[in-house]
C-alpha cells in the first residue's frame, strides 16, 4: 500500500490533497468537515487586515461553462477574500489546528503592500499555530483594483519585497501564490525565490468572463445588469497551470523551488501529473465545490492504486519525473515519425475523424461507401486530431514507423538518430553538425 504522506517545507500532511484557499475553506465548520472527509490540508480562505472586513456582492458570485451532460468544466468567481472579521477567523483557525494537529493548516493572507500591514498581521497568524502562510498575489478580481492580489503578483519587485517582509516577521514557511495573468510565469517565481519564499503555489484564477446574457447583454455572473471579470478555475485551466508549473520546474533559476500545484485538479490522475512535474502537493477547489468533500476519497484511492501498480512506495518516488522531459520545441526529434492507426473493431463509424481530417487537416483519412475509415499514410502528418475527436478511447492510436523504413508521405527513409530544428537545413540559425 503506497504511502501518501507528504512533507512539504517541513509541513507534514497525511496525503498530498489540500483544499485551496477559496470559499470551501472560509469557516471552521467547512474545514472540520473537510478534514473529517479526509483532506490532508487546508489553506484557509484569505485573511485581510483587521478592522471592518471586505464586503461581497449580494447577487451571484459564480459563472460557469459546461460540457456534455452539463458537466462543469470551468468556474469563474467574483468573490473577494473572507468577509468575516479577522478575529473570528483567527480564533477558528486556532481551534481547528488544535483539534487536527496532524493535518496541514495554512493561512492565506492579503493585506496592502505596506510593511506595517504585514508586520501587524503576521504575529497574529503565528499565534494560531498555523503551519505556514500563503501570500495571495493571485486573485485577479476585485481586490486587484485596490492594489492587492494579482496587482502584486504582476510586479515581480513587489513580490520580492513582500516575501522579504514575511520572512523577516514570520518564522514558519512562506508560500507565494502566483497569478497566471502574466506573460511569463518565471519572472514572479524568480522574484518569490529571491525574496526568500520557501515555495510558490500556482495557479491562481484566470481573468475571465464566462458568458454574456443575450437578453440583457450583461456579462455573467450578472449583478443588476452589470458584470465584472472574475477568476476562472476548474478542469478547463489545468493545461495552463501544468505548463506554468513546468516552466518554473525547468527554469535553471527556480529549478528545485518547492511548488504546490493548483488548477483544475479533479481526479487522482490530475494530481499525479502535477506531482510528476515536481509539485510537492496539490491544492483543489473546483472539484470539491462541484462534488463535495467526498471527492478526495477517489483521489486518494486512485493515486494509491496507481502508485502500487507502478511500484512507487512514496510520493517522492515519482515526484518530478516528468520535468526532464519538458523541453523546447526546437529540441523535439524530427525523426520521430508516427502514423494514425484505426482499430476497425473498435470503430463505431461516426466519421468525426474523417470530417476533422478532410475539412480541417490533411485529407489523410479515407471513407468508403460502407463507412470504413482508413488512414492514408502518404498524407498523414500524425497531427493527432483524429484521436482527439474520436469518441472511442484507444480506437485510433499513433504508431511509430521504425527507423530504416520509408515514410510514404515524404518518401524519405527514416534515420535512427535524433535530429531536430537546431540542425535542420531549413533553419537559418542551424548549427553545423559536429
Amino acid at each position: 500500500m503506497a504511502d501518501l504522506t507528504t512533507d512539504f517545507l517541513g509541513i507534514k500532511s497525511p496525503n498530498p490533497f489540500w483544499l485551496a484557499s477559496a470559499p470551501p475553506t472560509d469557516k471552521e465548520y467547512n474545514v472540520r468537515r473537510a478534514f473529517d472527509a479526509g483532506w490532508g490540508g487546508v489553506v484557509w480562505k484569505t485573511l485581510g487586515e483587521a478592522g471592518p472586513p471586505v464586503v461581497n456582492v449580494n447577487g451571484p458570485r459564480y459563472g460557469a461553462i459546461w460540457g456534455a451532460d452539463r458537466r462543469l468544466l470551468g468556474l469563474n468567481n467574483i468573490e473577494l477574500i473572507t468577509d468575516r472579521p479577522l478575529e473570528v477567523n483567527l480564533e477558528e483557525m486556532t481551534r481547528v489546528k488544535r483539534d487536527y494537529p496532524d493535518h496541514a493548516l495554512i493561512a492565506s493572507i492579503m493585506v496592502p503592500c505596506e510593511e506595517a500591514s504585514w508586520k501587524a498581521i503576521l504575529p497574529r497568524v503565528a499565534e494560531t499555530g498555523a503551519d505556514g502562510i500563503e501570500l495571495n498575489f493571485g486573485c485577479p478580481h476585485g481586490m486587484s483594483e485596490r492594489g492587492m492580489g494579482a496587482a502584486v503578483g504582476q510586479v515581480p519587485e513587489y513580490i520580492q519585497m513582500v516575501a522579504e517582509w514575511c520572512k523577516q516577521y514570520y518564522d514558519q514557511p512562506v508560500i507565494v501564490k502566483l497569478t497566471p495573468n502574466i506573460t511569463d510565469i518565471r519572472y514572479p517565481a524568480r522574484a518569490a525565490k529571491a525574496g526568500g519564499a520557501d515555495a510558490v503555489s500556482l495557479i491562481n484564477t484566470v481573468s475571465s468572463i464566462t458568458a454574456v446574457n443575450l437578453d440583457t447583454f450583461s456579462p455573467e455572473p450578472s449583478i443588476d445588469g452589470k458584470g465584472s471579470h472574475g477568476g476562472y478555475c476548474g478542469p478547463a485551466v489545468k493545461p495552463i497551470a501544468l505548463n506554468m508549473v513546468a516552466e518554473i520546474a525547468r527554469d535553471p533559476e527556480t529549478h528545485g523551488l518547492p511548488v504546490s500545484g493548483i488548477g483544475g485538479i479533479t481526479t487522482w490522475r490530475d494530481a499525479a501529473e502535477y506531482i510528476a512535474l515536481g509539485c510537492g502537493n496539490v491544492q483543489v477547489c473546483t472539484a470539491a465545490m462541484t462534488y463535495g468533500f467526498k471527492i478526495v476519497e477517489e483521489m486518494k484511492r486512485g493515486l494509491s492504486q496507481w502508485m502500487d501498480e507502478k511500484g512507487y512506495a512514496t510520493i517522492e518516488d515519482f515526484r518530478g519525473r516528468a520535468v526532464p522531459n519538458v523541453t523546447d520545441w526546437q529540441y523535439l526529434n524530427l525523426n520521430y515519425v508516427t502514423k494514425a492507426r484505426i482499430d476497425q473493431d473498435a470503430c463505431i463509424k461516426c466519421g468525426r475523424c474523417y470530417a476533422a481530417c478532410e475539412d480541417t487537416s490533411h485529407q489523410a483519412i479515407t471513407m468508403s461507401a460502407d463507412r470504413v475509415f482508413d488512414v492514408d499514410d502518404s498524407e498523414c502528418v500524425a497531427c493527432n486530431l483524429c484521436i482527439d475527436v474520436c469518441p472511442v478511447e484507444e480506437c485510433i492510436t499513433m504508431e511509430r514507423l521504425a527507423p530504416g523504413t520509408t515514410d510514404p508521405r515524404t518518401g524519405r527513409v527514416i534515420p535512427a538518430e535524433h535530429a531536430d530544428w537546431t540542425s535542420h537545413p531549413n533553419n537559418p540559425m542551424a548549427r553545423a553538425a559536429e
Partner: protein
C-alpha cells in the same frame, strides 16, 4: 361485474382509470432536462448514418444539436423542412429499425440517441406556438387534386401549397388523416394528435378537403384530370385480406384494421367490447397493435398466431418485445384451420407448420385455443387501381411517384415500398416536387 374473466365479448373489463393508464403515451414527451441530456449524447457524425436511414432524410445531427443549443423550435424547422408530419413520425416511426438502429451509439453501446423522442420534443415545442412555420409562395394559379388525406396525401398537399399551388384533397372517410387517424396504436398517438396535426398543417393555406369522395365511387380519374392540372393518388390500401376458413362468419371474428379504427375513434374506450380470450392472426405491425390493445382493454389472454417464426414477422423486434411485455403470447409456426363456435366464436383450430427450404409445410399437428374474439391481420390490399398499371397489387410508379398515366402521380401504401407513415411522407413530398417541376 365485468372483469377480465367475463366470457365472450364484453366492454369495461377494466375501469376507466386503468384504461387511461394503459393507453397513455408509449414514449412520453421529454421534459427539457431529459431532452438536454439526450441531445448531449449525439456525436454529430459526419454524413450521419441516421440521416441515411431516415426515409425523409431529416438532418438529425443538426436538429439534435439545435436542441442542445437551446433552440427546439429551430430544430423543428429543420425537421419540418424535410417532413411536415415530423410530429406524427416522431411518435409512430419504428425508429428501432430506422434512424436509431443506424445511430453509432447503438453500435457503440446498444443505446442509440433517442432520436424519435427528441424529434417529438422539438416538434411539440414548435406546434405549441400559434401559427404555421411556412409561408406560401406566390400563387401559381395551378390546381392539383389529391385523393386520400393520409400521410402521403397530406405531405404532397403541403409541399404543393407551399409552392403556391391550390390543392383539393378528396377524402372518402368522415375524418381526414388516413391511417394517422384510423390506424396506428392509440398509445402511440394520444390526445387526438392526428387531428391536431392536420389542423396545424392546413395552416399553410391553399388546401381544401372535400369529404365523402371515394375514388371509383363518386369520383373518377378522368374527371379529376379534367378538373386539375395534376393528380396525386394517396389512396392507401383500403381493402383487407381474408382467409378461406370455416367459421369466419361467426360473431366475434373481424379484421384487425376495423378493430383498431374503432379504438382510435372511441372517445371512451371502456365501451369497446373485447374478448376474454383473443386470438390475432398475423405477424405485422397491425397484428401487434391489435394484440397489445386487446390486452390493454382487459382481455385475459391474447395470442398472436403467426405462420412463420419470429424473425420472419413484419413487426420489428421492439414491437414483438412490447407485445410480449404486455402479456401477449407470441405463438409462431401455426396456421389457422378453422374457427369453431355456435353463433359466436368459441375456439380456433391451428395447425403447426414447418419451414423447409423457404416453403411452409403443415405438420398435421393441430391445437385448439379457446377464443371469443378472432382478429385477422393478414394484410391489406389496393381497393381501386383506377385503371393504372399495377404490380404485385400496388400501383406501378417510376421515379418520384409517376404512374403509368401522364399527369397522375401516386405515393404511400398504394405504391411499392415499405408501408410506413414516414415512407408515405417522403413519397408524397417527392411527388409534389416532381409535380411542381412538371407544372413550372
Amino acid at each position: 361485474m365485468t372483469s377480465a374473466h367475463t366470457p365472450g365479448l364484453a366492454a369495461g373489463r377494466l375501469d376507466a382509470e386503468e384504461i387511461a393508464s394503459n393507453f397513455a403515451d408509449l414514449h412520453p414527451a421529454y421534459d427539457p432536462h431529459e431532452a438536454a441530456v439526450a441531445a448531449d449524447r449525439c456525436y454529430f457524425c459526419h454524413d450521419a448514418p441516421c440521416i441515411t436511414a431516415c426515409p425523409t432524410d431529416i438532418d438529425i445531427p443538426l436538429f439534435v444539436r439545435q436542441i442542445s443549443t437551446g433552440q427546439p423550435e429551430a430544430a423543428a424547422q429543420t425537421i419540418f423542412e424535410q417532413n411536415i408530419l415530423g410530429g406524427m413520425c416522431a411518435r409512430v416511426c419504428p425508429t428501432e429499425t430506422l434512424c436509431e438502429e443506424a445511430c453509432v451509439r447503438e453500435a457503440a453501446e446498444g443505446k442509440p440517441v433517442e432520436i424519435g423522442r427528441l424529434q417529438r420534443f422539438a416538434t411539440d415545442a414548435a406546434m405549441a406556438r400559434q401559427g404555421h412555420p411556412f409561408r406560401r409562395a406566390e400563387a401559381t394559379g395551378k390546381s392539383i387534386g389529391i385523393v386520400g388525406s393520409g400521410p402521403a396525401g397530406l405531405a404532397c398537399a403541403h409541399r404543393l401549397a407551399m409552392k403556391g399551388h391550390d390543392v383539393t384533397i378528396y377524402e372518402a372517410r368522415e375524418r381526414p388523416g388516413g391511417l394517422n387517424e384510423f390506424g396506428l396504436a392509440a398509445y402511440k398517438t394520444t390526445e387526438n394528435f392526428a387531428a391536431r396535426e392536420i389542423d396545424w398543417l392546413l395552416g399553410i393555406g391553399g388546401i381544401t378537403i372535400a369529404q365523402g369522395k371515394a375514388l371509383g365511387k363518386n369520383i373518377d380519374l378522368p374527371a379529376l384530370q379534367q378538373a386539375h392540372d395534376a393528380v396525386f393518388l394517396g389512396i392507401g390500401l383500403a381493402g383487407v385480406n381474408t382467409l378461406d376458413l370455416p367459421g369466419l362468419d361467426l360473431s366475434g371474428v373481424r379484421n384487425a384494421v376495423d378493430f383498431i379504427a374503432d379504438l382510435r375513434q372511441a372517445d371512451d374506450k371502456t365501451v369497446l367490447p373485447v374478448g376474454r380470450n383473443v386470438v390475432v392472426i398475423g405477424g405485422g405491425m397491425t397484428a401487434i397493435d391489435a394484440a397489445v390493445q386487446s390486452r390493454l382493454l382487459g382481455a385475459e389472454t391474447v395470442t398472436l398466431a403467426y405462420r412463420r417464426n419470429r424473425a420472419a414477422m413484419g413487426a420489428s423486434g421492439f414491437e414483438q418485445d412490447l407485445a410480449a411485455t404486455q402479456g401477449v403470447h407470441l405463438m409462431t409456426n401455426v396456421t389457422p384451420i378453422a374457427v369453431h363456435g355456435d353463433g359466436a366464436v368459441q375456439e380456433i383450430e391451428l395447425e403447426r407448420t414447418h419451414a423447409a427450404n423457404g416453403t411452409l409445410k403443415p405438420t398435421g399437428e393441430r391445437v385448439r385455443l379457446p377464443a371469443d374474439q378472432v382478429l385477422l391481420a393478414i394484410g391489406q390490399t389496393l381497393a381501386e387501381d383506377a385503371g393504372l398499371a399495377t404490380e404485385r397489387g400496388k400501383i406501378t410508379v417510376s421515379g418520384p411517384g409517376r404512374t403509368s398515366l401522364t399527369g397522375v402521380w401516386a405515393g404511400g401504401d398504394c405504391t411499392p415500398g415499405e408501408d410506413l407513415t414516414v415512407v408515405a411522407v417522403a413519397e408524397g413530398r417527392d411527388a409534389a416536387e416532381d409535380i411542381h417541376a412538371a407544372l413550372s
